[in-house]
């Protein structure tokens, strides 16, 4: 316990240097901006900026990237409330009540409750990360390849089968991502696979390329193709301010949202959709009769406060499996993992020993970042709202320039730019036919790792698949995987009957 505290202080010393504070601030500001702007999320922004890992030292760039990740969550709620086009899946629920509040002239209260709720939840969740991550890392050191493989299997299952509308389409996306991950050199035997003699394929398909193609380029293409005539309407801004009664209604919702969001972030069943919806349902149920009528009509502040808190707590929670197990449970976490890989740092339980300075500086920067973001998003919210005035054609065309920087800057190959366009088209089709894209990214980055763990595990078991069942921990995890796949179906069947 004491140890954790000294380590954290050390982290604050590192994160508090002027240059790192500057990186944190740049990240938070940039994150807020891209959160506010429709069409760009934290994942694709971090992906486009990955080439800087060649020059910037690891601690600074991780602080910067984490700031973007965090900032986007704060900024995303602003867009949800004012525009009703959530910039992020996690802020989808905020749009439900927040947009209605803004419509009835209470935009300021909704924005304030969202920003302060994000701060409260983010800070509590960071405290929880500080307390639990080292403990979990210590435990995780004992896990062997079979357990790791099962954990990854669980991450695959939850990302593709639980999130999104249809399990089948989620799994199709996942296997497509896994297939992309096969391209290149096999980690264990150095066997070349699926390169078709193309030199660029030898190094494998970069996650940056896929993320930028599937998100940024696809977004621009989709907008040109389908969204041109969709009317955009914007609510009127009011001063960010909450009355005493709004405070009283907000804070229990913030705490409940945090309690719901954090656990969902930490288990490899990540994602922010489920906790935000759960939090919304809870608030709606618990609301006092006189406030219940506001839900879905004039907008209830609890419906903004709870989900926003849940969102931020879950986002912070995803850092736990990322830092302690090396398992990303969201697209942004997957990109952060690939940033670490660029530095030759293996995320996993050893991270707390081998790169403890980096990890603690990162955690400390989360505390600092939350304060910065509160300031950036409360008094200065009007500034960010101006970004929404950028006309759509210029915005998306500009995004294409940044996409070029990210993809070309990675390894100076114009072949990658053609590939990026192809993935952009694929992204359009996937969006049109309601295929989730997150499983592609998670499959691509976790696939090769899972394969290596599986084959190492089988080596331990001398070639027998029984090794996964004989070890209690991995057998338990496998059982959980089966439950995750089956329970929602059984429930649906019972409801149907």
């Amino acid at each position: 316990m004491m140890d954790t505290f000294t380590q954290l202080l050390g982290g604050f010393a590192t994160a508090g240097t002027p240059i790192n504070l500057l990186w944190a601030f740049a990240g938070c500001a940039l994150g807020t901006a891209i959160g506010v702007l429709p069409g760009l999320g934290p994942a694709v922004t971090v992906a486009m900026l990955l080439p800087i890992t060649g020059q910037v030292e690891p601690t600074a760039s991780m602080i910067f990237f984490a700031g973007i990740y965090y900032g986007a969550m704060y900024g995303g709620s602003t867009t949800s409330i004012l525009l009703n086009t959530p910039g992020e899946t996690g802020t989808m629920v905020t749009a439900l009540e927040g947009f209605k509040m803004a419509k009835s002239g209470r935009a300021g209260a909704a924005l304030a409750s969202a920003a302060i709720g994000s701060f409260v939840a983010g800070t509590i969740a960071t405290v929880l990360v500080t307390l639990f991550a080292p403990v979990l890392a210590q435990f995780a050191v004992q896990l062997g390849p079979p357990e790791y493989f099962c954990l990854m299997l669980l991450a695959f299952t939850t990302v593709s089968a639980v999130l999104g509308q249809s399990t089948l389409r989620g799994l199709t996306a996942l296997f497509f991502g896994l297939a992309l991950g096969l391209i290149g050199i096999d980690q264990i035997t150095a066997q070349v696979r699926y390169t078709a003699g193309v030199l660029e394929f030898m190094d494998g398909i970069e996650v940056v390329l896929v993320a930028v193609g599937l998100f940024a380029v696809a977004e621009a293409l989709y907008n040109a193709l389908y969204e041109g005539r969709s009317p955009a309407m914007m609510n009127k801004m009011t001063r960010a301010h909450m009355t005493r009664s709004e405070w009283r209604r907000s804070w229990p919702a913030w705490l409940r949202g945090t309690a719901i969001g954090f656990p969902f972030g930490t288990i490899p069943a990540g994602g922010t959709e489920i906790p935000t919806f759960l939090s919304y349902a809870t608030e709606r149920k618990l609301a006092s009769p006189e406030h219940k009528a506001e839900f879905g009509t004039t907008g209830a502040i609890e419906g903004v406060a709870g989900p926003e808190a849940a969102n931020n707590a879950a986002v912070t929670g995803t850092l736990v499996p990322l830092l302690t197990l090396g398992i990303p449970t969201s697209v942004t976490a997957a990109i952060l993992l690939s940033a670490l890989q660029n530095y030759g740092i293996n995320a996993g339980p050893q991270l707390f020993q081998t790169s403890s300075a980096l990890v603690w500086a990162l955690i400390a920067s989360l505390y600092i970042g939350n304060v910065m973001l509160l300031v950036l998003n409360l008094p200065m919210v009007g500034l960010w709202v101006k970004l929404l005035k950028i006309p759509r054609p210029q915005l998306y065309a500009g995004i294409l320039i940044f996409a070029t920087v990210g993809v070309y800057g990675m390894r100076q190959s114009s072949f990658d730019l053609f590939l990026m366009y192809g993935l952009g088209l694929l992204g359009v089709v996937m969006r049109r036919y309601d295929f989730p894209t997150a499983p592609v990214i998670v499959g691509l980055i976790l696939g090769p790792m899972a394969e290596a763990q599986m084959r190492n595990a089988l080596s331990i078991g001398e070639g027998s698949f029984m090794v996964f069942l004989e070890r209690p921990m991995s057998a338990t995890l496998l059982a959980v995987v089966v439950l995750v796949l089956l329970v929602p179906r059984l429930l649906a069947r019972r409801v149907a009957v």
């Binding site: 080439p51 896994l178 297939a179 005539r229 294409l400 320039i401 309601d434």
Partner: protein, 175 residues
Amino acid sequence: MDSFEPQAPANHRPGQLALGIGALIVAAVLAWGAMDIPSDAGYAGVGPNFLPWVISAALGLCGVMLIREVLTGGYRQMEEPSGAARGDWRALAWVSAGVLLNASLITTIGFILSCSLCFVFAVRGLRASEGKPAGNLSQTAKDAVTGMLIAAPVYWLFTKLLAVNLPGITAGGWI
């Protein structure tokens, strides 16, 4: 979601079928490639060709299931996609041309010019998709300047400050 103008809902089934077939094709390509991968397994019992076969089989199964869904009434739990029922293919062509020109020319004419060109094409397409005039000569010139005003600082920021390698055409690296 509920705000766009009423139009006849698009028929998604041909596209859905195509995607199911697409999954089958990818599965077949994976299987075809997997035949060339050696299977020497060492202690593990499974070699580098094991996962390719598994993924090929799984993707094939997904393809079959998708096609089955299409034949029995279309994809399940479909959320109606956002935006218009019919695509604006001309707008798409403009944006595509921008991206592809950029990919083909970036090494020859440098990052700034190539990206500005991409910007001009993309803005034109996106503006046309909104039903506005795509732009006369002076508008195009304005777009070109805007594109350069974005691309040039980005180029300097990344090449000079962050040492990311982006193609230029002058030795000094400012253009």
